[in-house]
């Protein structure tokens, strides 16, 4: 199975509650796949030109302040540590993102940047949704858009890398319920065109397929239509950028999706009960996207 949730807020008054709302939604779907979980939060609290990096180190006892000091020396720019969660941290800097990513890779070889962008922060790991949301103190976090995923692994191993969301480029985030059947072929094609992959996971292939088409100038909705053209299998995808929130289902609608549109938010979940606790849900327009329909909401 796997469970997906997402929330794009229209009412700024709900922003301080974003993390709490989406955590509750995700925990609701624990039965759909309790082996790994992850959340992406989008916030616009950073100064312009500043990028945040969600970093996971596969090493215990990382001295983040020392690492940041070394990184600042290299970059000649300030690097802030906005949060640390044991072996994970969120860093922010105005430095060129390619230089930051390169510096991190050299100074902390075990580091994996699970996501980066002006707005995006990602935390994900092996474990049940309640463990993950508590470990990362998600309920205390605000923002304007969030995506969550709880995983029942099918196409690749239960690892932090294999957990969702996938974020191959700045501020892009994908969560997937289902399984792709031709992803090895599509991955080879993307690799031949220069893409590199972090995992053996099928969903990463979809994320990089979308990233490639966005880089080539496609609008998000068109990038999702190209997924329908190229990727075979079962899927409900929720894909977000800094400004957009989009859903698509496979031609047979094999995996569930429910959307709730309300004056205060757009919300999506694999199952309705994850939406049932949202404020004013009884006044929302609740519907299921039909197969191959691409729905995109912009903030």
């Amino acid at each position: 199975m796997c469970g997906i949730v997402g929330l794009q807020l229209r009412d700024a008054d709900l922003r301080p509650r974003l993390g709490a709302l989406v955590s509750d939604m995700l925990v609701c779907l624990t039965e759909r796949g309790p082996d790994s979980a992850g959340l992406a939060l989008y916030a616009d609290d950073l100064p312009a030109a500043c990028v945040r990096y969600s970093v996971r180190a596969d090493a215990a006892d990382v001295d983040w302040s020392r690492l940041v000091g070394a990184l600042e020396d290299e970059l000649g720019e300030v690097v802030d540590v906005s949060h640390t969660y044991g072996s994970s941290a969120v860093l922010a800097s105005r430095a060129d993102d390619a230089a930051v990513l390169d510096g991190l890779a050299r100074l902390l070889p075990s580091a994996v940047v699970v996501g980066y962008g002006h707005a995006l922060e990602i935390f994900k790991d092996v474990g049940a949704p309640s463990e993950i949301t508590e470990r990362f103190r998600a309920a205390t976090r605000g923002g304007y858009q969030a995506v969550g995923h709880t995983r029942m692994a099918t196409e690749s191993a239960v690892t932090t890398g294999g957990s969702h969301p996938f974020s191959p480029v700045a501020d892009l985030c994908l969560v997937h319920n289902g399984s792709f059947s031709n992803y090895a072929t599509v991955r080879r094609r993307l690799a031949d065109a220069g893409a590199s992959f972090d995992t053996e996971n099928d969903s990463e292939v979809a994320a990089r397929h979308i990233a490639r088409n966005l880089a080539d100038g496609a609008a998000l909705g068109d990038a999702l239509r190209l997924v329908l053209d190229d990727l075979d299998g079962f899927f409900t995808l929720l894909v977000t950028t800094a400004t957009e929130f989009a859903v698509v289902r496979d031609p047979f609608a094999c995996k569930p999706a429910v959307i709730a549109e309300h004056d205060r938010y757009v919300a999506m979940a694999s199952e309705y009960h994850a939406l049932a606790g949202l404020p004013g849900i009884d006044d929302a327009d609740v519907f299921e996207p039909m197969p191959e329909e691409v729905h995109v909401w912009s903030r």
Binding site: F252, A253, P256, E271, Y272, H273, A274, L275, A276, G277, V286, E288, M290, P291
Partner: protein, 225 residues
């Protein structure tokens, strides 16, 4: 009448309380909030009113009760129903009435994809539209779609019959439109009365059944000499 609140009780507690009611009993299940598996596996002849939107498999495996959902439901309403009635006042998600052997499932709104999949003798009555692949591999029983049917209607049908009040986007493999007989009109009138639908003209429905090009068990006729 018994009131069972999903806010206070687990699904098992709700279902155990329902199963313990004597025939003729009446229960209201409150605050379902999309809860799955409510009123499943009941074999008593009781009336259950679910006061709100419910989740997956509502009324599944039942053999006797009359269950009404005052809202919409998730996937597989009345899956494997044996006997009794399930009524949904709103829309139903995918696989409504999947594999039901008997009883009646009434959906007053629309049904999503694969309604009546693998129907085995039950009756599935949809007031509104049905999504793609309705009646897929339905073996026995009857479906009525008051509104429009999506693509692939009745794909790989066996003995089940589907009546459609509105338009059919496309027929599935081995499904065909057949002439509406007087017996069909009588049957549709009875189904409409059972459902309480008054928006469908029994003389104007389309009858869809198996063309029997895929489905045949006449091994003698198809023996290779």
């Amino acid at each position: 009448m018994v009131t069972l609140s999903c806010a206070d009780l687990s699904t098992r507690e709700v279902n155990a309380a329902l199963a313990a009611l004597p025939d003729g009993g009446h229960a209201v299940v409150t605050e379902p909030r999309g809860r799955h598996n409510l009123a499943v596996g009941l074999t008593n002849e009781i009336t259950v009113d679910i006061a709100g939107n419910a989740g997956y498999f509502i009324g599944g495996l039942c053999d006797g009760p009359d269950v009404t959902v005052d809202g919409f439901v998730g996937w597989s309403i009345g899956e494997n129903l044996m006997r009794g009635t399930i009524r949904v006042r709103g829309d139903a998600s995918e696989c409504a009435g999947a594999s039901s052997h008997g009883g009646t499932i009434v959906i007053e709104g629309d049904a999503s994809l694969r309604a009546g999949i693998s129907l085995k003798g039950g009756t599935v009555l949809i007031g509104g539209d049905a999504g793609n692949m309705a009646g897929f591999m339905a073996q026995a029983g009857t479906m009525l779609i008051g509104g429009d049917a999506g693509d692939g209607l009745g794909d790989s049908l066996y003995e089940a019959v589907i009546y459609v009040g509105g338009r059919i986007a496309s027929l599935g493999a081995d499904a065909r439109v057949e002439e509406l007989t007087a017996d069909d009109v009588t049957a549709v009138k009875e189904l409409l009365a059972l459902a309480g639908f008054d928006h469908v003209d029994p003389l104007g429905v389309t009858r869809v059944a198996s063309a029997r090009e895929l489905y045949h068990f006449d091994s003698v006729a198809h023996r290779v000499p």
